[in-house]
Symmetry: C3
Subunit: 204 residues, 3 copies
């Protein structure tokens, strides 16, 4: 199940990447790179930090082709994209949660400390979007937006906690997934967000 969701997720993330590249008037190649990094960059960063070689997508070239096609497809249908805004946000939420759970699983399988497992999950969930925003020269949305990273954190905590309690793996995934989805959708529709920290001293 996680694997089907994963495929939907990388497709959706690749599309958000392509749109961000379009906002910066990038050429087709730039669109492809940003689509690729948005979709597969989170897992790449996680694998490098954990020393988990070979990196996932190098063993699954079909994922590479999928995200590149999704980027190209986005360019073709861009004019209609605003009609799908909501569907998009929901697919993106699926992606965030699926990435987070997969990230936790990888770190757990390598025997890392629970704190590192949580960070691996969050990194997988959000680093792709951070890379996209850095390459498009803007302050990463995830650091300023409504609850997004917090959803990744809660999903990771729930997954680890339920695992500790001995909940069977598939049920654990299902429950953590549902929890994340509910919170993320509330954040979107009700505008929940973390407090912002504004500091106005001159730069020293």
């Amino acid at each position: 199940m996680l694997s089907t969701i994963y495929i939907i997720a990388i497709t959706a993330e690749a599309m958000t990447g392509a749109l961000a590249a379009g906002r910066r008037n990038m050429d087709l190649f730039g669109v492809m790179v940003i689509a690729f990094l948005t979709a597969l960059g989170g897992g790449t960063v996680r694998d490098i930090v954990l020393g988990h070689y070979p990196i996932g997508w190098t063993q699954h070239p079909e994922y590479i082709w999928l995200v590149l096609s999704a980027g190209l497809f986005t360019v073709l249908i861009a004019r209609f994209m605003h009609r799908f805004g909501k569907i998009f946000l929901i697919l993106d939420a699926f992606g965030l949660i699926a990435f987070t759970l997969i990230g936790c699983e990888v770190a757990l399988g390598m025997g890392y400390h629970p704190t590192v497992v949580i960070m691996a999950g969050m990194t997988t969930g959000i680093a792709g979007g951070v890379l996209r925003d850095i390459l498009c020269s803007r302050v990463p949305v995830v650091f300023r937006h409504e609850l997004y990273a917090s959803v990744a954190l809660l999903v990771a905590l729930s997954y680890l906690g339920l695992g500790e309690l001995g909940v069977q793996h598939d049920i654990n995934v299902l429950m953590s997934f549902a929890l994340g989805l509910v919170i993320r959708l509330c954040a979107i529709y009700r505008g929940w967000r973390l407090p912002v920290f504004s500091y106005r001293q001159p730069i020293d």
Copy 2:
């Protein structure tokens, strides 16, 4: 032969890095870092992603000294640089193609899938320039400029294709190199470029 071209290439790339740093009024240290990352950053990113340790330049300190010297030299002769604009672009084209071929060879030698080999070649060719542009806070030129990444792609495809056809290695390198050079020079002199994707929806 590839190794001689490689040395010319990292020198030329270090110089473009130093100039970019100068446009941002960086101090001498900043110039060195940007020169280093522009010249050797592409290979570093490739080695990290492929898990190819130890990373190339850590075993060849002479390359480190070469690119640092090139950066320093650029600062000294900066006022004359605009006279060499065209020579520069051609050296840079040599670099792009040599980096791409070397990147393909490394990935091929590690037994990666052809799709990954192509990506390794392209990464080696262009990631240095992307790092340079990120550190200088601008949208990477390679995503908006005339055919550049596309040249890396064609060179990688040619190298893999001719290899598959059983063409002898040195002839393959020569032919792929020539192909890349012709296309790159046409792109420069005729202004060939990829279509740009402009997307004007508000950021969600």
Copy 3:
């Protein structure tokens, strides 16, 4: 001793990260990420480049908690921070030097060439601040500021040189530390800086 200073250092660096995030109006999560990367990012980059796995902080979750707490604490006391400006700069100098020495030790222990050892030390000392500035979309301060990277360079050179001369390890650390501190404080109080390279040709 280096280990006590290390703990002070990552705390101070986490606080500078949190303040930088505050200047960009990031939410609490953004503050945490920037605090973490500023404090532990330099060592992470060094470990990845040297292939030194597992990465330091993944084996010391207590450091993760320390820097996250420091980030949170900074948000709470931000309004009083400007009173501690000088103390802060001194703690930051301790951090820079301690990080540099630790970086040199790691690379030396892995048998790298002296040039690479120096670069590993400098990377550990300054990469955290560079990551902080990239994520906050500004040209890294270290490339434009008064002597900072140069201090890391001198500390690394001194540590390697004294080691080569057969000076006992603890005395070496102490002497290199003192040298770095004196130069850094002079740079701060007397405004010492490297010459700036300004290049005003149009971007080609």
